[in-house]
């Protein structure tokens, strides 16, 4: 069982690598959006907080789109049927997919981030704190997004609207992330703890609720 679990992890990693093209496209769109943002405000001097807030909002949407895309393909009905009949619990598959999405988004952000910061006029000294902030908040965003995606990909279109019920779960992340943009000096020890705690909370119930929704709504 452990041997096959490790094979599953390896195969999910391969799938994640093959899915990188879509993430690169999304980050390329981010570069374009950042360029438009900077060009549009070229005659206005804006604070670093505005640039970070802009970056954060775009990353938030990129994460939602990526999770939605992966769930729509990887949890199509025939695949889901096989996962449900697998000796591995569906919660484990959901967890693995979420973690792979996380590494995919984070790794490519780390590569793209110096260019993005330069375009947005953010000093490169903020590179490390911004990456750490993203690494911590992205975990919760992806696990919450997975719940949203599991409802929106349901067979019943009318039910998809109920996915908005999961949106309040993003609020703590949004509030704290926006608060972070006020803390430009990044003295963030307590903030970091919040993100870790909120992720652990999500980790406890998100795979359960996601797999429950997948089983009930998509088969």
């Amino acid at each position: 069982m452990i041997n096959n679990f490790l094979k599953l992890v390896k195969n999910e990693f391969t799938l994640m690598l093959r899915g990188s093209v879509f993430t690169i496209v999304l980050y390329s769109l981010l570069l374009i959006a950042a360029s438009i943002f900077s060009l549009a405000l070229r005659h206005v001097s804006f604070d670093i907080e505005i640039a970070i807030a802009f970056l954060w909002v775009i990353i938030f949407f990129i994460s939602l789109i990526k999770v939605e895309k992966v769930y729509a393909t990887d949890f199509s009905e025939p695949k889901l049927q096989q996962y449900i009949l697998s000796p591995f619990a569906l919660e484990i598959v959901v967890f693995l997919k979420n973690i792979m999405i996380y590494f995919n988004l984070l790794f490519l952000f780390i590569i793209f981030s110096p260019i993005i910061l330069i375009i947005l006029g953010i000093q490169l000294s903020y590179l490390l704190p911004i990456n750490i902030l993203l690494a911590l908040s992205l975990l919760s965003i992806i696990f919450i997004s997975s719940m949203t995606a599991s409802i929106t990909i349901s067979k019943n279109n009318k039910l998809s609207i109920t996915s908005v019920l999961t949106l309040p779960l993003f609020i703590p992340i949004l509030i704290f992330s926006m608060a972070l943009t006020d803390v430009v000096d990044f003295q963030l020890n307590k903030m970091y703890l919040f993100f870790v705690a909120y992720f652990l909370l999500n980790l406890a119930f998100s795979p359960l609720l996601t797999s429950f929704a997948l089983k009930k709504l998509s088969v």
């Binding site: 391969t14 799938l15 025939p78 009949l85 697998s86 000796p87």
Partner: protein
């Protein structure tokens, strides 16, 4: 033994089938027949516990089928393909055998692959394969996943005569080895002593 008692299923206000009852014992193969829309696929989905019936019971060895029983005893091959298009055939085989926790030696696996695919290049991406070749990947699971009950939705659809013959051999051997099989099919099945249930 799988026993279906007075099973009815509805989607919304649309009644798909009503009062369906039959039994299938080990060493038996049951073929579900019926016109399109009569609920063959839906009935199979009910048996595997993907869908909940409106009323009636589905029993496996006298007990209701829950998700644990389904995942440990049932192998389900549906009409649509479950493989990943952006993985090669070989990667898909490894992935889905891992998902089903199958541990076979490389030799047995290679023999099974050769039995179904002959000289096909296993490094081809899945989207490069024909419908019939894609379907064979699903059927490879039949050879390697060891579960007592097979539930197959139209397994012969889109396959050439030679592959249909191979699948028929696989089904016959499974039945001989105490297996229990329920399939839906529009085609006639050339397996001796199979039962037919007509959905109306």
């Amino acid at each position: 033994m799988i026993e279906i008692k007075n099973l009815s299923f509805a989607r919304g206000n649309n009644l798909i089938f009503q009062n369906v009852s039959f039994r299938v014992k080990p060493n038996e193969l049951m073929v579900l027949k019926g016109a399109n829309g009569q609920g063959k696929t839906t009935l199979l989905s009910n048996i595997v516990n993907f869908l909940e019936p409106l009323e009636g019971d589905i029993l496996y060895h006298g007990k209701s089928i829950d998700s644990h029983t389904a995942s440990h005893c049932f192998l389900y091959i549906g009409e649509n393909n479950f493989a990943y298009d952006n993985l090669s055939l070989n990667e898909n085989i490894k992935y889905w055998l891992a998902v089903h926790n199958v541990n076979f030696s490389q030799e047995i696996r290679d023999k099974s692959i050769k039995f179904l695919f002959n000289e096909l290049n296993l490094n081809l991406k899945f989207y490069q394969l024909s419908y019939g070749q894609k379907k064979k990947l699903q059927l490879l699971l039949l050879m390697l996943v060891n579960k007592p009950v097979w539930i197959l939705d139209d397994p012969f659809n889109g396959l050439d005569k030679n592959t249909v013959k191979k699948i028929t051999t696989l089904l016959s051997k499974k039945v001989e080895n105490n297996g229990l099989i329920i399939i839906s099919s529009h085609q006639d099945v050339s397996i001796p002593n199979h039962k037919i249930f007509q959905l109306k």
